[in-house]
Symmetry: D2
Subunit: 454 residues, 4 copies
């Protein structure tokens, strides 16, 4: 009896090779014209390997120089596109829903390590870039389901491993919508946007650019490549097709219902995270790694109309739906930090959940730094440990209330407030890997440096 | 042997009486001069009763007329202030942390019901007021730990019951900070704030007002009352003292670490919720009820300096910390809706978690309305059921990603997407309690109507 | 709008009064002729109070004299019987299933305490009576959902509160089956039973006895009373009607499907436990208390035939079914002790789960006594804390494997094995309440003393 | 920077080869003289592969003929022994505790399938062999973390994967104790044991036998082999050294504290289970598979004396301790079946948890067979799905109460009792793989056929 589910490897990668040297070509843009590299049938269990989101640019060492000078025009390297057909061989069609079940996932054998990094404020930045402008990184090693870091001693936790990116190919019409609205923001954003004063120095959007562009089977430099590269969307933000949604609970046993915009669905995936905290606050914030997914697809014919409701001017303004299953690490006790929408200067914002969450994260960083850690260590930790970021209250004008909940069991000391004074933390390991940092205490308020990669 | 923990009722209320007729007077403002009504010792288990946040203004009936015309200048009615002393009788002092453990809580005996309401857009509004401008309400009945509503059939869920408000009295200095920053927003907010275009018609802030003011033992109309009423902060937003943080997980077994700003700590509590969803989106969005708390206090001397870090120009810019315990209803399977920071008009916002969450909630409402519910019913349900609102990604410019996760077990039908067409839902119960609604399909874009109560 | 679920108190008790002085009479035997004291309708939420199983015989003090001399002929005092009718007033009938949902439960207001006791080996005994022959007790105080004991310092845990007993009235035919099979055991057990050498000195069964008998509305001493008392089954063991099943997870949100043997179902309940460990090993092993239940009934007509399968010579040999809901305290980490079916003398038993479990419990007691506790304290603790007793392997001849899992979070110290030597436990509180104990180290092997109460 | 935890494969197996053809020899007996095949250091993460417990005797097909005629003298094939030394190279010593952490585990790549079987009552039998005497089997296929079976349609569940066997080598003294006590049972058991009337036809013990014996590096047929084979203990039962404890929760993140009896600890492991129910009732009851473990060891010097307490005539009568971590599939709703210690003939047993559990399992089988399954299918299912077998009450003479709790989410239909009649189950798939069965309805009561393999 042939076991019907024996899984098939449809994309394999060699993590020792460069992204552009892989047998099946990778890509780092969204565009309907990027050809699929494999076809799978519904009901079939198959495996996809992927490189880490930087394609090996960050090394397993003690220096953050690689982080500081990373070329962000090349991320994220994705595996795919994968074309999906049903049992009769009929491909998914625009208007269908593609249901993707994550049967299993993990690091690649022999590559049981990952990294978490803070980007330099002039090259990527992050949610707290005005507080932490200098590039740094932490290396994590995996002991099966657990991760620990020599750079952040005293913590060890099980991974809620997930792909940061999974998405279908956009149609040309959807792609145009993306490019238009993001260009509008890029051009007009600074004069109107309040939040920019808070998160001042990061690019507002990441518009198409030929620099760093990799388009799978399309030969680089060809006329077709040139045309597509100038149109194709960057993979940084999540959008209607799913993409970089960074939902940390999309782990084993989850199901993802993706809208289908082109024949075959042509979904791609990448950006594997051994673990991530809600918000992925340091930007390169998960425990980033290469890895594999075991997937099983189903097609719900006509499912977009049946289950999704457009939320905008066209029928394409939809979002995926997700199902979370019973197989997550569970924690019984949480320490929770709160933030309200008053920023660090004392200024009141109106029901702004981003400001509130920023404040919650800052509160948590300050608190945990009392237990023997540097603030950079905690910022890295909160980016990647299984902490939960919640919008607790969004209606009590003028303060949004956001919370950050941290499972206490990940620490090897009791981090709860206590009556008696804290013991002096024995675990201060000065993070060894900060390269020479050009920022002094008086952080310069820089202008928007423009889109990365431009 | 005298059981040392026999609990003592320090505040009792009669839910049949008006807020101003209670034996121990209630209050609905924050001010250091509101006298404490009782003193408790650390280590002692004691009980506080509270009226619902409207003090009985909303009735257990089928009409939303009470909701439509509610006087919001009078909310929230709080029990307290409670003065806390240690075992030697020495009161909590400014700079201490007050640890409040919630030993138990619940509805008042004989009052096993609650309400969830949508406010009229001209009188309170809510997170989705531009989509749902008409007042409506749902009544919930409790069967022990479970709630169900005749207005939203087919759902039943256990309560994660919690007080929406618990906070210490502010010092005069802190109060001044609040009033100043909120006045600044009220006066200058409209011209600068982006989000106002989305959430256009709600008041930006709720400044002090004598109208509706209740100040506990301070006789109404006295000179002192007049002075305090003109200074005292409204209870709508959560702030540095805790207050209306609406954190839905602060249930049995939780601990709240509140900063102490005045001698005795003088904490107050109210706004009991039988259950609430993250965000409490419809504003009167929890299952609002009268109820009781059983509490136990501890004082961590000097704890503010030890554990909290000011995040602003003065040492007072702090936030409380919370501990969540092992006693929550747990759900194994969740259906998750995603939103990105592109609004309903298709406009791109920059890493705005509020816009992303709004979109996630709208997606969930549309989806669930396919199962036999009106959208108003779902809006009410998502405000009060134990759903989780997460900030999943806050760094991938320009799209923040927010998610709303709904436990599937609260429904009596399978709400997951499926291959075969949905059965026609038999449960459409046209919500009977919408009063005549003056809004038509073309919602008027109103100017900011000013602070409630003014 | 009249809230349809406003609960009604159908049985109230006064814990200050004796069991036989309560307004609605209690009973402590199973018999079809005990008249119902109240009638409830399906769908109605109602409340039943109950005294503790001893009816107040054990006091909140430091002496175990009351435990040592307790009259076990009078237990358990039950509230009921309750007659159940459907919405049309038609009573439950033999052959139906009675579904009882536990909507809520807890201690009686003002009675927030309980006790756990070890019985003297000549008066009740317990699972480990050959190791712990002396009467002792621990008093527990409740702080809302938490319990702690001055007699067992350093532990505090949330209660998984439940009724030890809930059962329907047996038919005369079923009662006869019980009496016959238990008499057979009582008469012939000693010569054939292996386990008796292990658990040697406890009564084999507890046959009907007029001594201590309480029969509700049947006047004591009447002819009818005399007849019924001589037939009525003791409440000690669980049987086909449910009864003393001591399933610790039957807490809030659970449902119990009881077979109906007589018209009206006539169910009774009692023996409230604030908390219990699997096995309730010390016999008076839960945290015993008075308390209340809020219940809602449903009748599944013909449900016995539909859902239950007789497992014996008559259609009456059935067992109830239970549903456990999502509202339990959850623990993330457990320390597990194992036992195999080799007894303390080194003798091999054949797949005997009772022997294996005994060994697991003894292992746990010895282990925990290394952390500053006396063995009596641990025996009491394991009887009442939320520990799980599992049959892990029952097929690998000759060793059954049983396990006892203890949640580590209930202790205020880390009880896991560690590389470095244990700190000397500071918490040895010599249990103060052991009355003079007549047993020396060489425990006398006594003959079966006969049924308690005879 | 060399990642210190890069795991090393210390035992690899080829599942296509016979157990005796593997590169590193396997063994199927416990004896101190079986030489270790590899050495590991504490702190090192390493990997051990293992064949399934039968070494490939059961095939992935539709016939149970292989099950019926299996040679049970050869089980279980174990990988090891593994010698453990500390960081300085000093081996574990008798009296130490060996802490083994399970960092990860799973099926072997390409071998994503397993089997569950009922043994013929004359060749192995099982817990319910008197009810299910005929050999049968179900094949399971794995889709990542999920398993499903074509032989038991309508169920799918995540695996709580674990090794059924992990144990240290016994000392000669301990081995002698085992052999003596099991021989005593084998010789004298039938006349004294009550339970044998219930579980009548299975071997009482499995004494040493040269037949089928495999001793690792010891050449078969040599003088040494002959001597050891006649002394070495069978691996069927769990004992003081751990061994076949079949604790279903020993999955990812668990820690096992094993007593050390010989220098180097020399632990072995095998009998991988993709999933198992408590009790593993059908004997070949888990989802049996080949697989791998990733482990990390620690040595607690002198830990036996520090943490274990001998429970018998010698210091060797101890049991391992286990720690269970936060990474298990979790289920919110359970259907629970109860059994009491009255057997199927209606006979009363005294506090016999084995009889009670048998009754609970039989009740569950009968119940679930109402949903379209054959009883054999349910018996197989309850052996291997993540159901929990509890000792609920062990003190209420004469009835022990045992429960079997089944997570309702593993079924694709609602299996709870309901008011309305059951729909006719569409899923009756007559189990196709029962070979000709020589048992008729009147099951012959056979005498004890003696030890397997003799």
């Amino acid at each position: 009896m042939a076991p019907p589910t024996r899984k098939q490897v449809v994309v394999s990668v060699n993590p020792k090779k460069k992204p552009w040297e892989q047998k099946l070509p990778l890509h780092n843009r969204w565009h309907p014209k990027i050809p699929s590299v494999a076809t799978v049938k519904t009901g079939q269990v198959f495996r996809i390997d992927m490189v880490d989101w930087t394609g090996g640019a960050i090394k397993d060492d003690n220096s953050a120089t690689d982080v500081k000078h990373i070329d962000l025009s090349t991320v994220h390297y994705l595996s795919g596109p994968i074309r999906v057909v049903d049992e009769e061989g009929i491909p998914a069609k625009a208007g269908d829903l593609l249901a993707v079940e994550i049967c299993d996932l993990g690091p690649l054998p022999g590559e049981e390590w990952g990294f978490t990094a803070i980007f330099d404020r002039e090259n990527g930045g992050g949610f707290l870039t005005d507080h932490f402008p200098c590039a740094t990184k932490a290396i994590w090693y995996f002991e099966g389901i657990y991760a620990y870091s020599p750079h952040i001693p005293g913590v060890r936790f099980p991974g809620l491993t997930h792909p940061g990116i999974i998405g279908t190919a956009p149609s040309m019409e959807l792609l145009n919508i993306w490019n238009e609205r993001e260009r509008e923001l890029e051009e007009n954003g600074l004069k109107s946007l309040k939040l920019c004063e808070v998160l001042h120095s990061r690019p507002l959007a990441n518009l198409p650019s030929t620099k760093g562009c990799l388009l799978g089977k399309i030969p680089e430099g060809s006329e077709e490549w040139e045309k597509i590269a100038n149109e194709a969307a960057r993979t940084i933000p999540g959008r209607e097709n799913g993409g970089n949604c960074d939902i940390k609970n999309l782990s084993r046993g989850s199901k993802i219902y993706l809208p289908v915009f082109v024949e075959g669905a042509n979904f791609s995936t990448g950006d594997m995270h051994f673990s991530q905290g809600d918000g992925e606050v340091s930007f390169c914030g998960a425990i980033e790694m290469s890895g594999f997914l075991e997937l099983k697809c189903d097609i719900i014919r006509g499912g977009m109309k049946e289950y999704l409701t457009p939320m905008g001017p066209t029928p394409l303004h939809v979002n995926p739906i997700f199902e979370i299953g019973p197989v997550e690490p569970r924690f019984s006790e949480w320490l929770v930090f709160e933030g309200i929408s008053v920023d660090e200067s004392g200024r009141q914002h109106y029901l702004d959940a981003s400001v509130a969450y920023k404040r919650a994260v800052l509160n948590a960083i300050d608190y945990l730094s009392k237990f023997g850690y540097t603030k950079e260590q905690v910022y890295l930790l909160l980016s990647c440990c299984p902490c939960e970021g919640r919008i607790s209250g969004i209606v009590d004008a003028p303060n949004a209330v956001a919370t950050l909940a941290i499972p206490t069991a990940i620490f090897d000391q009791d981090i709860r407030p206590k009556r008696n004074k804290l013991p002096v933390g024995p675990r201060v390991v000065r993070n060894p890997n900060i390269p020479s940092c050009s920022y002094d205490g008086n952080l310069p308020i820089t202008k928007n440096p423009g889109a990365t990669g431009s």
